[in-house]
């Protein structure tokens, strides 16, 4: 789960990272009041979880509280890559002398939390990684003892932090590490970390991505979820225990298992169709979850056919078939449905599906071809 900048900064501040926190605002009036409390020039920043907000006009300077209100009015309601801005962060403006990139990531290859640091911070960091990899330090930390002081010093020297700020850097590095570990993050980055004209070391922007598997033990962080940025169908899916990602195609997919779900989408594409979603219904495929999955898929008006692909395995195919027929009977909208059930009791499933006039398929390739044909038929 990605956290908004102002939430990420809240967490970093709790761990002693010096930053210009500012205040979130959801209306131009609130933005003005926040700017008045802060005093002096401010930055008004769209709080969205997609990248490239600066280029989209989502970050603006304001020299007064009155101007902050105007800028907030421009930014609030702005569409940035499909997300409508509902919240802005009003933060003190800083005069930047130098910027750095500092990040921590759960590094699957190194099996460690790895520090990534560069003195060439800012939005061009990924370009730097390609053109000048020596300018980036990657330092995996020990999985049991974590960040050590000598490592924090090494990073400071690598970055060329001014001598008088090295101690402050140690505090930032320690705070970032503690925030990462205590919130069970997958990623925590400060970009940029800056030295200001008046010689302060400050985090100007921050991003934290939490490990979804660890959220059950962090109810305080779960409360920071921004539902505004999620598709309503994805919220409904999460509540039903279904893994779902909406796409732009016309063939709704319902599959058990993530790898098989991706494969089903790939084969729909190979057969000349476009998948409307990724949907992993999970183990067991119980009737109520099947019903919820159908509702979520059909909520998308683009869906012209549904492809159900269940590898029975331990689950009995005839039970899944009955669940599908029952769930379908309760739906408001009818679209052609291609059902492929294999594995345990697949033979017993066939008459149940045939009686309900569902299109059946033996192989996955065949199922994908039939779903594509069903969409072509519906369009004619």
């Amino acid at each position: 789960m990605k956290l908004q900048e102002y939430r990420s900064k809240e967490i970093l501040a709790r761990h002693g990272v010096a930053l210009l926190a500012g205040e979130p605002a959801t209306s131009p009036q609130e933005a003005r009041a926040a700017a008045e409390r802060i005093g002096g020039p401010v930055v008004v920043k769209a709080q969205v979880l997609v990248g490239g907000r600066g280029k989209a006009g989502g970050v603006k300077l304001a020299s007064s509280a009155a101007e902050a209100e105007v800028r907030a009015r421009e930014i609030l309601g702005l569409d940035i890559k499909g997300i409508t801005v509902r919240t802005v962060l009003v933060a003190p403006a800083a005069e930047i002398a130098h910027e750095y990139y500092l990040g921590l990531i759960l590094d699957r290859a190194a099996r460690a939390i790895t520090v990534i640091a560069s003195a060439e911070g800012g939005i061009e960091i990924e370009e730097t990684a390609k053109t000048n990899p020596e300018a980036i330090l990657r330092l995996p930390l020990h999985p049991l003892i974590g960040l050590q002081d000598h490592e924090a010093r090494r990073i400071a020297f690598f970055l060329g932090i001014p001598a008088e700020l090295r101690k402050d850097f140690g505090t930032v590095m320690r705070g970032l590490y503690d925030a990462f570990v205590e919130s069970d993050a997958d990623l925590a980055e400060i970009n940029p970390l800056v030295v200001t004209d008046d010689g302060q070391l400050l985090a100007l922007d921050a991003k934290i991505v939490l490990d979804d598997s660890a959220l059950p033990r962090h109810s305080d962080l779960e409360a920071m979820r921004d539902l505004n940025e999620e598709e309503p169908s994805e919220i409904a899916a999460r509540e039903a225990g279904i893994s779902f990602i909406k796409l732009d195609g016309t063939i709704g997919c319902m599959v058990n298992g993530a790898g098989l779900a991706m494969t089903t989408m790939d084969l729909v594409k190979l057969a000349g169709g476009e998948p409307a979603n990724f949907l992993d219904i999970g183990g067991g495929a119980k009737a109520d979850r099947v019903a919820a999955a159908f509702r979520i898929i059909l909520d998308d008006p683009n869906v012209k056919a549904i492809l159900v692909n269940i590898f029975g395995g331990i689950t009995r195919g005839d039970e899944v078939a009955r669940g599908i027929v029952e769930a379908r009977a309760m739906l408001d909208r009818e679209v052609p449905m291609v059902v492929r059930i294999v594995g345990t009791n697949a033979e017993e499933a066939k008459p149940i599906l045939a009686e309900a006039n569902l299109i059946t398929a033996d192989s996955l390739d065949d199922a994908a071809a039939k779903a594509v044909a069903a969409v072509a038929g519906a369009g004619a």
Partner: protein, 291 residues
């Protein structure tokens, strides 16, 4: 022959009295796996699976009294890290963790400790493994297999079953099928399994099933190009998956362009591994290689 588990495997099941544990243990027993003990703290002294298997309070007790040499874990995610550590502390050399949803930071620590102790960990969030006709550990349906000479390794669950079924239907049997799990941090990698298959005299060909994310497939391809002379076939799921789930700048820097289906496919093909467009094409690729 087979890898990791066989007729001599004496299996312990942690969480044997839970709903999942009991259900899948019954299926393992029916397959012919030798389950010698179960562990559920507080239920020591009971007998599980219709009187077949003694239950112990601790893994240490179970190992002392039954000589268990492998453990399969079905406990909930909140308790799974502790269960893996308990099995390793009791000197069990092979631990298979089926549990899904174990936090990543816990896994960094657990994987490090188990590796240091010389414990092989498979998973977590994996379907387990089956040495065909010898032992099934985990949740892969037993009836999809046929005995033969192809070793299979996969990051997925049901996609593994799909490929195994396609092979069996085409008359191509398997030695061992291993699901290594799809989490960011798992105990056993593609390379570990491929290396074992490469050294197993009965395994004549190897199938690897990957998916988008991480760079394990790319690394495995490099290993295969160097070390493996047995014919190989592969499949990569996720060509049409949305490129979302971007892990900030750090993720892009770490991955350096690896992780996409195209990158993985290119890496596999460069290593001489034939890559199928559909799981159903894998049997033909194996036939073409003389299997």
């Amino acid at each position: 022959m087979s890898i990791f588990v066989n007729r001599d495997t004496r299996l312990l099941v942690q969480g044997i009295t839970g709903r999942e544990g009991e259900f899948h243990s019954t299926a393992m027993l029916e397959y012919g796996t030798s389950i010698v003990a179960g562990v559920t703290p507080g239920k020591g002294g009971q007998v599980a699976l219709g009187g077949h298997v003694p239950v112990f309070d601790t893994v240490v007790d179970a190992v002392e009294q039954t000589g268990a040499n492998a453990s399969c874990i079905f406990v909930p995610a909140a308790f799974a890290p502790d269960a893996m550590l308990e099995a390793s502390a009791a000197h069990i050399p092979l631990v298979i963790c089926i549990t899904e949803g174990v936090p990543g930071l816990d896994m960094l620590r657990v994987a490090h400790v188990l590796r240091s102790a010389g414990t092989r960990l498979i998973g977590p969030n994996c379907p387990g493994l089956t040495s065909v006709g010898e032992a099934k550990v985990g949740i892969i349906p037993g009836n999809i297999h046929a005995a033969g000479s192809v070793g299979l390794v996969s990051r997925s669950g049901t996609l593994t079953y799909e490929v195994v079924q396609a092979m069996t239907d085409a008359g191509i049997g398997q030695t061992t099928c291993v699901g290594i799990g799809g989490d960011p941090v798992v105990g056993t990698s593609f390379i570990d399994v491929i290396d074992a298959f490469n050294q197993d005299p009965e395994t004549e060909a190897i199938v690897m099933i990957g998916e988008i994310g991480g760079d394990e497939e790319e690394k495995a391809a490099a290993f295969c190009a160097r070390e493996v002379r047995k014919p190989m076939a592969g499949f990569i799921a996720g060509r049409t998956a949305p490129p979302g789930r971007r892990m900030g700048h750090a993720g892009a820097i770490i991955s350096g362009g690896a992780g996409t289906a195209e990158s993985k496919r290119t890496a596999l093909e460069a290593a001489g591994i034939r890559v199928a467009d559909s799981p159903s094409h894998i049997p033909q690729l194996l036939r073409d290689a003389g299997i």
